[in-house]
């Protein structure tokens, strides 16, 4: 190990677990030993001779023990919207959701477009401690989509990737230069794939439902066109590009074809896009007003297929806290977004329960895959010597999402009231338990 071992970290013996490690493909019963906050050993036979003396023992009761989740798309509310969420409340929500590493979006107020602001986020996050916060920086100055931000210096300051967040880079020349310039630093660009002029003024997915509700629509094509254009620019520049929260069948098809052509493209989606469709808007339910908008059932099924065949690389929560002032409004006036940190695992596990994904694949999408995209070699895996960031969950346990009982400061969950299966029992950050489910009684 190049890095010094953290002294004073916690030690634990986790016994009787179902070990899940997407890096090695391990899915087997066994135990895991944490010494001084790092994984010392793990495997089927690690406690064959009993647990070491003087170390706390946690009986996992046969439940799943996996690397802590890595959530690559979170709004933490800081700076500028602390009334909706702050790093402390986001950290609580993350811990309750089994998330031990998250990437914080930069289109804040002010936007994270200078090295000093990147350092600010990193410093604030360290004070919180229970979750690693990786800062994004904006791709353009002030996130205004006009001039490139200082990608090199921002990267040096700790920015893990570059994005204008909820705003797409619409200007083709700017995107071309960004893809090209970022190559010098190996920097990852994350695009919100939505052609701005086609999406302008829209409030939900364009189609029969929007027409019935009298709501202006955003066509699926807004996403497809942006993805297809960017893929052409990617081919031209031979750069590297990641599409966030992909929601349409057409975009998935374009990405699949681009990957087959060998382009360095990756993409993620978020639980609403494989668990809900546009009918969730119902009678103007603003908690279902998401960006991109919830799409058709055919799109939803295409997203699941793309997760299963590897076209989509990761699942992120797209956690976007909004309060009553921005959501209790007529639909067209309400803000976009839903919270998701605490439902990320359970809703994703639904894909395992219904047979769409193997357990180890679902875990990979939530851990190793996003960690790799963000260049975090020590996160998202079980390996000797890496920080003991772990989640223990009962894959079978059913519960009902109750937004009022979630830890996030904001309660705008599109899954409010939805029964789910899979519950985080314990979250461990660097060997320290940062969340433990209260009570072990029957399903709540």
């Amino acid at each position: 190990m190049a890095r010094a071992v953290t002294r004073g970290g916690d030690s634990l013996a986790l016994v009787n677990a179902r070990l899940l490690d997407p890096a090695s493909g391990l899915d087997a019963p066994g135990g895991l030993l944490v010494l001084d906050g790092r994984i010392a050993d793990f495997g089927p036979a690690v406690f064959a001779a009993g647990t070491p003396p003087g170390i706390a023992v946690v009986d996992c009761d046969g439940h799943c023990l996996a690397p802590g989740l890595v959530d690559m798309r979170v709004r933490v509310g800081e700076p500028g919207e602390e009334h909706k969420e702050n790093l402390a409340s986001a950290a609580l929500a993350a811990a309750a959701g089994g998330v031990t590493t998250l990437a914080a979006l930069p289109d804040t107020d002010p936007p994270i477009d200078e090295p000093a602001l990147v350092a600010f986020i990193a410093r604030r996050a360290q004070e919180v401690g229970s979750v690693t916060v990786l800062p994004y920086a904006t791709l353009t100055k002030r996130g205004a989509g006009k001039e490139l931000a200082e990608i090199g210096m921002l990267r040096e300051a700790g920015a893990v990737a570059f994005t204008d967040g909820a705003r797409a880079i619409g200007d083709a020349q700017l995107m071309r230069r960004a893809l090209s310039y970022a190559k010098a630093f190996g920097a990852l660009i994350v695009q919100h794939p939505e052609e701005p002029s086609l999406a302008a003024g829209g409030a939900m997915n364009e189609g029969e439902f929007a027409t019935r509700l009298g709501l202006p629509g955003i066509p699926a094509l807004a996403e497809v066109i942006q993805v297809e254009r960017d893929l052409r620019l990617l081919e031209l520049t031979r750069g590297r590009l990641h599409f966030a929260h992909v929601s349409t069948e057409g975009a998935v098809a374009a990405i699949r074809a681009a990957k087959a052509r060998g382009l360095a493209v990756t993409a993620d989606t978020a639980p609403p896009y494989f668990d809900l469709n546009e009918t969730a808007v119902g009678d103007y339910r603003t908690f279902a007003k998401l960006s991109p908008p919830l799409r058709t059932e055919a799109d939803r099924l295409a997203i699941i297929a793309a997760l299963a065949d590897g076209t989509l690389d990761a699942v992120a929560s797209d956690h976007n806290p909004q309060d009553q002032d921005t959501k209790r409004l007529p639909f067209t006036m309400a803000s976009w977004g839903g919270i998701g940190l605490e439902t990320l695992l359970a809703v994703t596990l639904n894909l395992v329960h219904n047979g769409a994904l193997a357990m180890i694949e679902a875990v990979r999408l939530l851990t190793l895959a996003p960690a790799a995209l963000l260049g975090q070699a020590e996160a998202g895996r079980l390996a000797r010597g890496v920080p003991a960031d772990l989640v223990l969950f009962d894959a079978e346990r059913g519960w009902r999402v109750d937004a009022d009982r979630l830890s996030s400061k904001s309660k705008n969950s599109p899954f409010d009231g939805r029964p789910v299966q899979g519950r985080v029992l314990r979250t461990i950050k660097a060997g320290r338990t940062v969340f433990q489910l209260a009570g072990r009684g029957p399903a709540d």
């Binding site: 189609g207 027409t211 019935r212 629509g217 067209t332």
Partner: protein, 324 residues
Amino acid sequence: MQSGGDSGAMRFPHRHLLAIEGMTPDAIGFLLDLADSYVDLGRSAERKSTLLRGRTLINLFFEDSTRTRTSFELAGKRMGADVINMSVSGSSVAKGETLLDTAMTLNAMHVDVLVVRHAASGAAKLLSEKLDCAVINAGDGTHEHPTQALLDALTIRRRLGRLSGLTVAICGDITHSRVARSNIHLLGTMGARVRVVAPPTLLPTGIERLGVDVFTDMREGLKGVDIVMMLRLQQERMSGAFIPSIHEFFRYWGLTYDKLAAAHPDALIMHPGPMNRGVEIDSEVADDIGRSAIREQVEMGVAVRMAILDALTRPLRGNQPQAA
């Protein structure tokens, strides 16, 4: 909700009137029958009823309106209600909080019926969730305008004796029209055949899924129809973005005698008003006494709104039927 023998509560089991979509043919028929009786009352010498004496009706208009607001005001006053008009000007509406803040204020005032018009689709529904009183949607964004569809249906039924089996062409800006949506739902529910006729840029995606036949050629769309329903083209849509010019729109989609020749010889012409003469309808056609039902629509508007006020306040009045 009262139940039992009263056919009104059975046939019209709604607390609010928010949309036509989802209403049964029986509920619509009930309102139209009731409205018929109010047409008679309106034409009699003594136009007053005392059904709503002591009740408070508030007209809450976040968008400018003369005819709908006046029509509700007249309906309420003819039934003996205290009618208050509240107009909230454009600037203070920009902040949507106003809507729910207003709702809270109204709740405290013990209002019985709220009539609301708002630029946002779903605004009436949102208010109905927060208010204790009956809410009537007088137009919400581009969603619905149910009382307009009801008065249109009453006009047609009185002229032609039925709705079922008729062919109706709704022409103009379908995309941005709440009148079109309410009429599509109502006429379809009552068994009429509905066509929409518009330039492709003013036809919303998936409109055919609402059970209409879609035309972009006016003459073809009007061929043999019993009713021609023109829509108002909003000023802000007129130049550039959706259609190249008013001039071109009128040439291809404006209602003229020439295009009307394709329709049934006795086809009725309707318009929800206010008309843009020379934009969507030729002045001569609009003023054709024999064929235009435009003035009649206004009269039916008051009767329909009286019927709605009657039906929605029945639970308040212990379900007593109309004092004839």
